[in-house]
């Protein structure tokens, strides 16, 4: 795989296949921790890290152990356990070395395990690999990293939008989550505009 193709995969994962705004993965943390810029940043960094790490582990497990032994129906079970273990590891490290970040992320840290973005990316890269044999290990890792950065971009952008929302005069029944979802819809609209841009840039 050439470098241009890898760059294309990376950009596509951020812009046109944005995991939050186009694929609806990881909506819970998106709505939950995007209130403040710093927690949004910490959460997305943790998610990016877990995403790349779990893709790096699950890809060889699937390709070299599960498929040759015809155990690929165990995919869901094996992947979620690997991710749960990795999240536990990140949690222990954060608790020990960065207690302030640990306190800020609170409930959402163990919930990275149940963040569909992480499990989603490990499965989607395998789907892509099945369709296109040239989409190998490196491409999968780049895709996972791009998905994490896309997650970060959406979270940080949206945290900015939400900080502005707080000073707005909003009708009573729309206050809180409803108006947040409506603004998320507008942000998602703007991401629709990126359709085709990656192909245009690199070809």
């Amino acid at each position: 795989m050439s470098l241009t193709q890898l760059a294309g995969i990376f950009l596509a994962a951020i812009l046109t296949e944005n995991y939050i705004l186009c694929k609806f993965f990881g909506i819970c943390p998106f709505l939950g921790v995007s209130k403040k810029l710093d927690t949004a940043l910490g959460m997305s960094l943790a998610v990016t890290f877990v995403m790349v790490l779990s893709t790096a582990v699950t890809w060889p497990i699937y390709t070299y152990i599960l498929v040759p032994k015809e155990l690929d129906y165990l995919q869901t079970l094996v992947f979620i356990l690997v991710i749960a273990g990795l999240v536990q590891l990140v949690e222990i490290i954060l608790k020990k070395y960065m207690p302030s970040l640990y306190n800020a992320l609170g409930i959402y840290l163990p919930l990275i395990t149940t963040n569909c973005a992480v499990l989603g990316v490990t499965m989607l890269v395998l789907d892509k690999g099945a369709q296109d044999p040239s989409f190998g290990y490196i491409a999968s890792l780049v895709n996972a990293f791009g998905a994490g950065v896309g997650f970060l971009v959406a979270m940080v952008m949206f945290a900015g939008v939400r900080e502005r929302l707080e000073s707005c005069n909003i009708p009573e029944s729309l206050q809180g989550l409803p108006i947040t979802l409506v603004s998320a819809s507008l942000v998602a609209c703007s991401f629709l505009g990126f359709n085709g841009i990656v192909d245009g840039l690199l070809k």
Partner: protein
């Protein structure tokens, strides 16, 4: 627990008062992703309900055996096993549904509703109560998905269950099927639920956040703030 409370209450609370999607805001990812059509929304709802009922009963039955420290991995393993079974059944008997749901089918494992109910309800209550709780929550989830799917398919594709509707189908509003439409319809539905909830039951506001299955370890609740 649970013996004195009428079992029927465990069943009905999930449908309206504590509707997992509209009131507790759990399981939002599949809600937004598979509701581009009514049939895929309904299929997802039924699959999730089946997993929820099975996992809730098994976790409740195994609760004396599972050590407290490793309970979350144990729950996830049980849930993943049931998801794999449901996935195999759907692949065998409804391959078109399998195609429509795609990667979101295995992702039922990480649906917060299921782990949330396991953690907050099934780990503390008897088998019968847990199964009913799962069924109620599952039906509430399916109902919310069904409503979302209907709105999006009617407005966005001009059809319902694939049957085209006369006037609308000539110029459907495509945006409702695209991601932004999903967020928008969800926001509007939640606003409607807020409006309906605020008038007749004023006490509801206090319950709102405490009813969240994560309330036990929710930092925001301890700080006295609203969730989300």
């Amino acid at each position: 627990m649970g013996e004195k409370k009428p079992l029927i209450k465990e069943f009905t609370k999930g449908i309206i008062k504590e509707n997992p999607v509209l009131c507790l805001v759990l399981g939002t990812c599949p809600t937004l992703a598979v509701t581009t059509g009514v049939s895929s929304a309904l299929g997802m709802g039924i699959a999730a309900t089946a997993v929820l009922v099975c996992s809730n009963s098994v976790i409740s039955a195994l609760r004396p055996v599972i050590p407290n420290k490793v309970r979350i991995p144990a729950y996830i393993t049980i849930i993943a096993a049931f998801v794999t079974i449901v996935q195999m059944i759907i692949k065998a008997y409804a391959p078109s549904l399998d195609e429509a749901l795609g990667v979101y089918l295995p992702l039922i494992v990480v649906n917060c509703i299921i782990l949330g109910r396991a953690e907050m309800f099934a780990s503390k209550n008897g088998v019968a109560a847990s199964a009913l709780d799962g069924l109620g929550m599952g039906i509430g989830f399916t109902a919310a998905l069904f409503i979302m799917g209907s709105i999006r398919e009617i407005l966005g594709a001009g059809s319902w269950f694939g049957l085209s509707i006369p006037i609308i189908s000539s110029s459907p509003m495509l945006i409702f099927i695209l991601p932004p439409g999903g967020f928008f319809v969800f926001g509007m539905l939640m606003a409607a639920a807020n409006k309906l909830n605020s008038k007749p039951v004023k006490k509801q506001k206090d319950i709102n956040c405490a009813a969240c299955p994560m309330s036990g370890n929710c930092n925001k609740l301890k700080e006295g703030k609203e969730c989300g």
